[in-house]
């Protein structure tokens, strides 16, 4: 377990990068900042997904549920109850975090593809539920919730930068901790792990709720940025799939894979879509197919296999 990334040079590099990113609002244009905000939000989504699914092997196809529930709670607080955004965000995230403990307790006993489908069903069901006549007085139903949080782009950017930084640090710490190892043991062989004294249910739920909290926080920021939430935007399957694809792109189960995936992916998307408006989505689909067939271990995995990067887990 040589700590290759713990060297002073690496930390110095990270510090410089962070300082640079922090100072960006002072010289970058709004467009670049918007792009960075989206990259950072998706970095949190992808890392949050990876934190649970990449380590435990439970494919979470309901990331949009985390995002949408937290987005809804925080948006409603800001729009209808005049909460200050800084307070609304953590409330939304805590809400989804706590609810997901219960949800995890119920759903995490379902395994494999069925778990993935149950999460999709949960997302779809919640979306429909928000629109029903019973919840409409609170949620505004299909009309959606438009609001202005009164947050400047720079403040938005710094918030999400801090969140992304914390998320990556948490992922790094977890991957190199015993808790992370236990999660990986669940992925490798859940039953064996349990007969070796690992409280698998508890560990899974903790990881699930932590993932929900972090993605939820990013989700709350996302909809504040968007000034608007409605059931179909809040729970769209794209909010689940894009982060998964980004993670696959960077490397599942790696620490920096999701961040790298989110960054590269957003840039490629930005370039492709400007040039190929309509075929863009078709190309996106083709890339997905190619990724699975020829590149299943992701960028970092591929580099590790080729010996370009050391085969250690902390990257």
């Amino acid at each position: 377990m040589k700590d290759l990334i713990g060297g002073h040079k690496t930390w110095l590099g990270i510090a410089i990068l962070m300082a640079f990113l922090t100072l960006i609002p002072f010289f970058a244009t709004d467009y670049w900042m918007t792009l960075l905000v989206l990259i950072l939000i998706f970095t949190v989504y992808a890392s949050g997904w990876n934190l649970f699914s990449g380590l435990t092997g439970y494919t979470n196809f309901g990331l949009a549920w985390f995002i949408g529930v937290s987005g809804y709670v925080s948006s409603l607080l800001i729009a209808d109850h005049k909460f200050f955004w800084l307070f609304a965000w953590p409330i939304g995230a805590l809400f989804v975090g706590i609810v997901s403990i219960g949800v995890g307790y119920i759903l995490l006993r379902i395994k494999g593809v069925y778990f993935a489908i149950s999460m999709v069903a949960l997302t779809e069901g919640t979306r429909e539920l928000i629109g029903t006549e019973y919840l409409e007085p609170i949620t505004h139903g299909g009309k959606g919730v438009p609001f202005v949080a009164g947050i400047s782009l720079s403040a938005l950017y710094w918030s999400v930068l801090l969140l992304a930084f914390i998320t990556v640090i948490i992922c790094y710490k977890i991957t190199s901790s015993k808790f992370g190892l236990r999660l990986m043991a669940i992925r490798e062989d859940e039953q064996a792990a349990e007969t070796m004294g690992i409280h698998t249910t508890r560990d899974k739920i903790i990881a699930f709720a932590l993932s929900a909290f972090l993605t939820g926080l990013a989700g709350a920021i996302h909809f504040t940025y968007q000034n608007y939430i409605d059931p179909s935007f809040g729970f769209t399957i794209h909010l689940t799939l894009t982060p998964i694809v980004m993670t696959l792109f960077g490397g599942v189960g790696t620490v920096f894979g999701p961040a790298i995936g989110a960054t590269l992916f957003t840039f490629i998307h930005e370039i492709l879509w400007a040039e190929l408006t309509i075929l863009y989505m078709a190309i996106f689909g083709a890339i997905l197919i190619a990724l699975i067939l020829f590149f299943p271990q992701g960028l970092l995995g591929w580099m590790k296999e080729r010996g370009i990067l050391p085969r250690i887990r902390k990257i």
């Binding site: 119920i106 149950s118 629109g131 029903t132 799939l241 078709a282 197919i289 990724l291």
Partner: protein
Amino acid sequence: MTNFIEILIRGVMLGSLYALVGMGLTLVWGVVGIVNIAHGEFVMLGAYLAFWSFSLLHLNPLLSVVLAIPVFFFAGTMIHKRITERLTKAPELSALILTFGMSILIWNLAQFFWTNTYRSVPYLTGSFPFFGLVFAKSKTVSFFLAIGITAALFAFLKYSRLGKGIRATSQNPEVALVCGINTIKMRAVTFGMGIGLAGAAGAIVSLQWVIFPQMGASYVSKAFAIVVLGGLGNIQGALAGGLIIGVLESLVTQYWSAKMAQIIPSMTILLILLLRPTGLFKR
């Protein structure tokens, strides 16, 4: 009361179509082991096949249904041989993502070539009275078509050599392999059949509903509910599941609300997975 019976029968008709979509999905899932998210896109392609052959070749849409089966069967086996066969040993996430990619690719290409224009096949519109009840002509014909295709499928699986091979592969691929069954071929054939069913369902759908590139999505969630309800790989279960979902949707819309009816598929999935993970029907 007549209203109730009318709605019940309409639910059954609706359900027969759902069942057709669900049976294709459950076959592929149960035998090939691939959760085909792109299943709905093949329904969409089937609908376009019927639309184009109607508007360009003036082909009767009912003939298109018959035509769709071999066309989509062949396409399905080719897709499996070229692409999805490689997934049989990969983790489940791979298949989910790959078929999702396939879904995006197909509907966007459809959008590119055929535009977002909404189309429909104006054939067999309207209704006919039946002992004081009123039924849509298109749905009634669709119902009998769906029943016919289902019966043919059952007969094929039960009596033909190929069908027996498919059942063997679905129950235990290793044993089937040892017994000299070419499981790769079986999987390709099954995948083809699943796609064929989707295509046929699409051609039937074209009679009833609006056709547009993104229409596939609405069938997939229902098909998933049907598969979970009926039990994985269980054709009879999918038939029953489809009918149940169809009837529930009709009744709940009428006596409760359309929004509650929309929640049925996802609630079904959650409840069944928690209470009876093997599905409601024994194999």
